[in-house]
């Protein structure tokens, strides 16, 4: 789900609070509620009610037929002792590495090199073409990417043939079928899928940076690395926050690539919470248990997003010198 949530929206600029509204003005504003009505109704029907429904179902046992049976917190107790549940969250940590940490760091480096070195010392078209190459996987529906990579990494797939061709045939392997290599292989695919997003966002962000800062630093004799650390990184921090947040949420929710590549296998080596929940809902028909998994995942996402937004607000306040 890499392409989703890719708009780097900066939060609304803090505007000075208007003077307390007069009664007349408040009355005028009340009419605006009418415009919120359709959206609010839809929101309650499609998001609010199902969310409450899932929360309720997580406290029951239910196969989807008949009436749910209330069991209190049983599902959650069972979760704590479920090895698959813990394995799925361990794998999520690796997904965070593959979808957040590596792409953000590599993306920063690539964007800086593309913008600063290649964009300036060669034709801008060169930088644009290279950027497009990095971005291309983001255009591909992730499931299609998963299917193609599934074939490439098959025992008789293109990757093993490539190893043969360069004389490394001894390394031939069933990359996705071996519990030892499946997770690293999936991670490599996710880096490939994800990397274009930070590259594009950071390159756009760099255009915002005042070139005079760089010129001044250059006059002072700062080398590229100095300038990268002293100017580039602090200047594009808002974008870095947005990229890190959206990629983190995407990594916590990752489903399509896992479905297409491994279905969580072999032996749960690549299982993730969202696939685990899907499987529990629709293959094992344990709706209550699946709801408990989903609820835990939801809570984690809400907490992580909250921490991010709080950190961002704090760093912005610090910048303004409060």
């Amino acid at each position: 789900m890499a392409v989703s949530e890719t708009v780097a929206a900066t939060p609304p600029a803090a505007t000075p609070t208007p003077p307390a509204p007069s009664r007349r003005r408040r009355g005028r504003n009340a009419a605006y509620w009418l415009y919120l009505l359709p959206g609010a109704v839809l929101f309650l029907l499609v998001i609010g009610a199902p969310l409450v429904g899932t929360l309720y179902l997580s406290l029951t046992k239910w196969s989807g037929i008949g009436d749910p049976r209330w069991v209190g917190l049983d599902n959650y107790q069972q979760l704590l002792q479920d090895d698959v549940f813990w394995a799925s969250f361990r794998n999520t940590v690796w997904m965070l590495v593959a979808m957040v940490v590596v792409p953000t760091l590599l993306g920063l480096l690539l964007a800086a090199l593309l913008f600063d070195v290649i964009g300036r010392r060669f034709k801008p078209r060169t930088a644009a073409a290279l950027r497009a190459a990095f971005y291309l996987p983001q255009v591909l529906p992730v499931v299609v990417a998963g299917i193609v990579w599934g074939w490439i990494l098959r025992p008789d797939g293109a990757f093993n043939s490539l190893l043969d061709a360069v004389g490394l045939g001894a390394l031939r392997h069933d990359w996705l079928g071996d519990p030892g290599t499946a997770l690293p292989a999936v991670m490599a695919v996710m880096i490939w899928v994800q990397i274009g997003y930070p590259v594009v966002v950071f390159m756009a962000a760099l255009q915002r940076v005042d070139p005079e800062l760089y010129e001044a630093a250059e006059v002072d004799g700062a080398n590229w690395l100095h300038r990268f650390r002293a100017i580039t990184l602090p200047q594009i921090r808002p974008e870095t926050f947005v990229v890190a947040l959206t990629c983190t949420i995407a990594a916590l929710k990752v489903f399509g690539p896992i479905f297409a590549l491994t279905r969580g296998g072999p032996d749960n080596a690549t299982n993730v919470p969202s696939y685990f929940a899907y499987y529990t809902f629709f293959k094992k028909l344990q709706v209550g248990y699946g709801s408990a998994i989903s609820t835990v995942l939801t809570l984690i996402i809400v907490v992580v997003a909250g921490i991010f937004i709080w950190m961002q607000a704090r760093s912005e306040r610090r910048d303004r010198g409060f």
């Binding site: 392409v3 949530e5 890719t6 708009v7 780097a8 929206a9 900066t10 609304p12 504003n29 605006y32 415009y35 359709p38 959206g39 929101f43 499609v46 998001i47 199902p50 969310l51 429904g53 899932t54 179902l57 989807g64 690539l110 593309l114 070195v117 290649i118 300036r120 010392r121 990095f134 291309l136 255009v139 529906p141 992730v142 499931v143 299609v144 990417a145 299917i147 490439i152 797939g157 293109a158 043939s161 490939w192 990397i195 997003y197 756009a204 005042d210 070139p211 929710k253 489903f255 479905f259 919470p273 969202s274 899907y278 709801s291 989903s294 995942l297 939801t298 996402i301 809400v302 997003a305």
Partner: protein
């Protein structure tokens, strides 16, 4: 595409003049070579796809994935096209993504009008709620949605998917547009109000035309995101008549029909629409962004 849609406050500075005072003859070439190598690695899977999409199964089994095809084999492509009924799947994807894009933008616009310009009370909380809704894992909604859709006869209809994604996408759109409208010039609104324009007129005659570039970008994003969505269509759409391209391709995975050439051919034609949108919309996107920045 990832872009900053909110009008940037930073001054638009002209590109820095080329100054070769510090030209690093060698190192810049090293950088170019390394980055180009990285870009080529990114493209390798696409090359594999192209190489094997037009290769006969005989060729594939004798020569392997890396061999050059001895003939231009299109049966894999045709098998996929007819067996999957690709035109129908394309139409399904287009109907769903197109409807969601239009409806999602409309709902976002109305919501954001109340929040960003109407500044109704508690708007920060409401915007936060919308933002949070966009981040929720779809697993937290899917079972009740699936169950209710079955009860009311919306299961296995495109309408169910359209309604769900209209809300999910507009949650993000509301967040974004509310922040854009928060910076809308008050003088324009006041001038319109002095002329006696009502809220509805102001929305369509003043706000809408000014936001058109941002709305266009949002429309495109909604379209592409919905086009690529997987979990909800997978659960909601179960037969050949209703499925979208990603779901159809995934449900064929592991099928005997899907030998290597057919898999690659299938992936290739599923990729073509995405690349076409990207190329067509890229100009709109670029225009939308600059138009936003000029304000």
């Amino acid at each position: 595409m990832a872009v900053t849609l909110t009008p940037s406050t930073a001054p638009v500075t002209p590109a820095r003049p080329v100054r070769d005072r510090h030209h690093r003859g060698v190192s810049r070439w090293v950088v170019l070579t390394l980055v180009t190598l990285g870009a080529l690695v990114m493209l390798v899977p696409f090359a594999f796809m192209l190489l094997n999409a037009f290769k006969s199964p005989g060729d594939y089994s004798s020569g392997g994935p890396l061999s050059w095809p001895t003939e231009f084999y299109t049966k894999g492509l045709r098998t996929y096209w007819t067996e999957v009924n690709f035109p129908l799947k394309f139409w399904n994807s287009a109907v769903i993504a197109g409807s969601v894009a239009v409806l999602g933008v409309a709902v976002s616009l109305l919501n954001a009008y109340a929040l960003g310009i109407g500044r109704v009370r508690g708007r920060l909380w409401i915007v936060g709620l919308f933002l949070l809704a966009n981040m929720l894992p779809q697993e937290a909604l899917i079972y009740p949605l699936y169950y209710v859709a079955k009860q009311v006869g919306l299961y296995n209809t495109q309408l169910s998917v359209i309604i769900i994604f209209t809300v999910i996408q507009s949650a993000f759109g509301t967040y974004l547009l509310a922040s854009v409208m928060g910076t809308f010039p008050r003088s324009l609104l006041e001038a319109a109000a002095l002329d006696g324009a009502g809220k509805w007129t102001v929305l369509w005659r003043v706000v809408f035309p000014n936001l058109r570039p941002t709305l266009a970008v949002l429309l495109i994003f909604f379209f592409i995101w919905t086009w690529n969505e997987f979990l909800i269509p997978l659960v909601m759409l179960i037969d050949n008549q209703t499925q979208t391209i990603p779901v159809a391709l995934a449900s064929l995975q592991g099928d005997r029909l899907m030998d290597a050439p057919t898999t690659n051919a299938g992936a290739l034609i599923s990729l073509v629409p995405a690349i076409l949108f990207f190329l067509i919309f890229q100009r709109t996107l670029a225009r939308g962004i600059t138009a936003g920045a000029e304000k």
